[in-house]
Every structure is written in structure tokens, then in C-alpha cells.
Symmetry: C2
Subunit: 306 residues, 2 copies
């Protein structure tokens, strides 16, 4: 078994050492152009030449949950594309989103500004039972986020392309379900995969369906959001604010209006980082299962896009 | 049945209306000096003259979880003292503490300062499996907080006076248990009742037992913390920071050093507000149970102090 590692923006040494340890029977090498044909690969944003030179790959493992960048490549139809499920990302995502939702709901940002100015002042508490939080996307990450929010007794609604059932969460699907959910949400959390169907889904039309004063949290992909539509709705006072972790171009360009907007909190795509040890363990387990002819989860449906 | 309402710093009208609706069989009145003898009372920080004039009270219901202020009064031995359990406070406390722990663990405060300065910069993630969070006090609020933190996969330890068992939490008790727990905690959360045994418990000795760089969250009472000991440990760099919601004197006096300390986040005693509707429902249920001769929870042990 021969495995290539081809990950942009990643220090390869600890990954190679970890994969060699987890799969001692495999030959594990850092990819270079002209490398001998391999069966398997671990990748992040690989160049097109990688796939052009390796048409015989049986499976590629993406070290992230989103495969939108990978699906922009031409990949042999016989190559299985596998994404990470969870691998330590779901708890980070739950943490990131709960922190942002609680901060907004409890107005801890306002309290921080008040106390920094030396003022001891109460704010009237918001009513939790009316504070609907909506989650777009109910995959491994979206489900974990919805359940974590439910733990704080918010009414939680979740939307996905097809119908899903999640204990304690009101689930909706399809275009009608999306509109019904948007009309309820005081906070909207985006955790959709980026596909042709979901690109630009957070736009003037959809965001205007939220109740006045609603809040947006985008932790999926920058291309889900039409930046200028969000800015217009924030500046008109229609939306209260946004927490954004992902952007159309990363790093976010210096001149972008998001940097200086008083009602946008931004982080540098850090909501859920790939955890090396968990990822290697998951990939090794899946490779072993594939070799035994057993089914694995996380195989990407190329037509669906995730 | 005659019930008096005697709550300082509280608008009585909605409480009186709510109690009358919940207990239609009772005569419910706002206390004034000279009021006729009553069986029951709903109180918050009542003056001594209230108890001096009402020695025949069967039970007083405190509209808060902490009864330290109430126990400073002389109260007839035959009067049952009852505190609120939960009544909407536990979820607020879980929210407050999880927000503060996540903000510190994920360094969202640092990210906020960086992005406000226009910098896109990653920080090396902290290791969750080493990030022990310790909770002092395992009553209704402490238990809920410990479980909420466990939901984010932190190793959680909990300490209480006597032994307790909580699923998923390492529990310790007694003086030896306290020292063992302090030595582990990257974050220490205080949710103890204020009693003669716990006053000043957060002092130079105990706080110095925490690992270097530990973080303190005090959401119980200001008198648990020796203010100058915390300031010294922060200024020497021994502790990383603190989130404080309670203070020896409230509102926190203008001249207090906590107001301007760069590594203290403070809020004006807002971690868990009394929720009127939930509190009235709970008190009404307990009164009905007492009338039927059934046992109720939340009866204060005066010797123990909570």
C-alpha cells in the first residue's frame, strides 16, 4: 500500500510521522511532481497536477470537513473522495457557536463596554423562550451545534436539504422550510456545505426574511454570504450584528469593510481547526476498513457536492 | 393563609399580582411595619424589624439561591427558611460560566483584540484534554455548570463539603480534596454558598495552589474572595486573569482596582437573575406541599449555613 501526502499550508513532518505510525504496513511519502503511482492520498487543497499525475488513486482523504475546494479539481471517477467527520471539530464548532450565541443573547459585549467605561448598569434580560436559534445544515457539525444550543434551553430549529429527525430540535427542509425557519430566527447559524445550491445563500432576500434585529453567525464558507448584502442590512439597522469566521478571500484583504465594522466580530477561520492526532486515527481506521471491504462514512457524493 | 411580600430593591407589583394568581386561596400583601401576623413570607434582604414583628411565620421563601444575607438576621427558630432551587437560574449560570471558560480557553478575547487591530493571526490551540476546569460547590447550580462544561469535553472536577457522585465529573471533598483539585485546575469556578467556613476561601494560599497561569471565575459571593490577594497574584503574573460577577460591596465602588484591571472581566452581579414567573411557580408549589404535610426541597440548614 502506497500513500501520498499532499497538503498545502501544512507542515508535513508531524503528519508523515503520525500516518507512518498508524499504518506501519504502508509506504507513506510526501508528494512531489513525478512521484510513482499510489493507491491512497491524504490531501488539503492539492494542485490539479497532483490528480493529473495520479489517476489510479483508490481514495483521497481530505483533512477537513468541507470538500468544496477539492471538488473544483478534475478527479478520476474511480477515485473515492472521503472527508473528515468530526475528528475533534464538532466540539470546537459547538464551543465557537455557543460562545457567540450566548455573548449576543446575554449582551456580554454590551456589559463589557459598560464596565470598561466604569458603569454598573443592568440590562433587561431577553426572553429565552422567544429566542429562536436556527441552524442551517444538519451534518455532523450542525447537529452537534444544534444539540449544544438546546442544552442552554434555546428553542432550536434546524434546516437541511432533505428531512432529518433530531431529538429536541425542530427540523425543516426544502425551500418552504427555509423560509419558515428564517422568519423565526433571532440568531441564524450557517453550517452548510458549499455547493452550487448553497453558494450566495445568505443574501439580501434570505437575510431580510429574518426578524428585525436578528444576528448572523457564519462558520461554513465565505462564499455562502453576499458580503455587500450583509453590510447593507447591518448599516440600515435591519440586522443587529454578525460573527464571521470565514470569508470569500482568506486572509481577509486589508481593505475589506468587515475589518472595521463596529457590529461585526471576526476571527481568522479558527472556529474548528483540524486536529492532527484525531484525523490520522480516523483516516487510518477508514483505510483499514476499505482494505477489508467494509463500508466507511464520509464518502463524498460528487453530484450532491458534499 | 396570609402571605407577606418583603423584598428590598424589587418592584413589588408584578410579584404581588403573580403570587395572588398562583395562590388564589391566600391573602397576599405588601409588608409594612405594623402589618397583622402572617403565616408565610416571600423575602429578599428584609430588615430585622420584619422578623421582630413577625415571630409566628411558618416559612419564609428567599427569592434567590444564596441565603447568606438572610441568615445574618435573627429569625424565630420555628420559622422554616426556604431558598430557590434553580427556577431558571441554573441555565443562566451554565451560560455565564461556559461563555467565560470558552472565551478564555479559545482565547477569543485575544482574537478580538488582534482583529480589531486588523491582524489575521492564528494562535496555537490549547489542549482540551489537559484543560481541567474545577467547580467549587456542587449544589443545583454547581452541578448544572459542571455538566454543561463536560458537554464541551473538558476534564471537569467538582468539589463539595461532603462526598457527591455526578456522572462524568471527578468529585472531591474535604480539605485534602480541595488541595488536590486546586493543583489541577486551569480554570477555577466558584459556586459555593457563603458561610463562615467558605468566607475568604479564595485567598493567597488557595489561589497559589492553582497551576501558574490559571484563571478564576467567581459567580458566588464577593466575600468568598480576598480582593487584594487576587490583585497581587494577577500583577505578579501568577494567575492569567479573572471573570468576576460578585463583589464585597455592590455596586462595586468607583475607586476599586477591579474596575480598571486589564486582566479582569467584570459584570454587575448579572450571572443568574431571579426569574419572576419560575420563582413564583416554585414557591406556590412548595407552599401547597407544605400545606399537605409533604416534604419540600431547598429548606436551609441554619447550622450549615445553606
Amino acid at each position: 500500500m502506497r500513500l501520498l501526502f499532499c497538503c498545502t499550508d501544512t507542515n508535513p513532518e508531524p503528519w508523515l510521522a503520525g500516518i507512518r505510525q498508524a499504518l506501519p504496513q504502508a509506504t507513506v511519502e510526501l508528494w512531489e511532481s513525478g512521484a510513482a503511482p499510489a493507491d491512497l492520498a491524504v490531501v488539503w487543497a492539492p494542485p490539479q497536477v497532483f490528480f493529473d499525475e495520479q489517476p489510479g488513486l483508490r481514495a483521497v482523504f481530505n483533512i477537513g470537513a468541507g470538500v468544496d475546494a477539492l471538488l473544483a479539481r478534475r478527479i478520476a471517477p474511480s477515485t473515492l473522495i472521503v472527508r473528515l467527520d468530526d475528528a475533534g471539530m464538532a466540539v470546537q464548532m459547538a464551543e465557537y457557536v455557543c460562545h457567540a450565541v450566548i455573548r449576543h443573547f446575554r449582551e456580554f459585549d454590551v456589559y463589557e463596554a459598560e464596565t470598561k467605561a466604569g458603569r454598573w448598569a443592568f440590562r433587561k434580560p431577553r426572553r429565552r423562550e422567544e429566542f429562536v436559534v436556527g441552524v442551517l445544515g444538519l451534518g455532523v457539525l450542525g447537529t452537534r451545534v444544534a444539540q449544544a444550543l438546546r442544552g442552554f434551553e434555546f428553542p432550536v430549529q434546524g434546516w437541511s436539504r432533505g428531512p432529518k429527525l433530531i431529538d429536541g430540535i425542530t427540523t425543516l427542509d426544502g425551500a418552504e422550510g427555509l423560509h419558515a425557519m428564517l422568519a423565526q430566527c433571532r440568531v441564524l447559524v450557517n453550517l452548510l456545505p458549499l455547493t452550487d445550491d448553497t453558494r450566495d445563500i445568505l443574501n439580501r432576500d434570505t437575510l431580510s426574511r429574518l426578524p428585525p434585529g436578528a444576528y448572523l453567525i457564519n462558520v461554513a464558507r465565505g462564499a455562502h454570504l453576499v458580503d455587500e448584502d450583509l453590510l447593507a442590512l447591518l448599516d440600515s439597522g435591519r440586522l443587529a450584528g454578525a460573527t464571521l469566521d470565514v470569508f470569500r478571500k482568506e486572509p481577509l484583504p486589508d481593505e475589506h469593510a468587515f475589518w472595521r465594522h463596529p457590529r461585526i466580530t471576526l476571527t481568522p477561520h479558527t472556529s474548528a481547526r483540524t486536529m492532527r492526532d484525531e484525523s490520522i486515527a480516523q483516516i487510518a481506521t477508514k483505510i483499514t476498513a476499505l482494505h477489508r471491504g467494509e463500508p466507511i462514512v464520509g464518502v463524498v457524493n460528487r453530484l450532491r457536492g458534499y
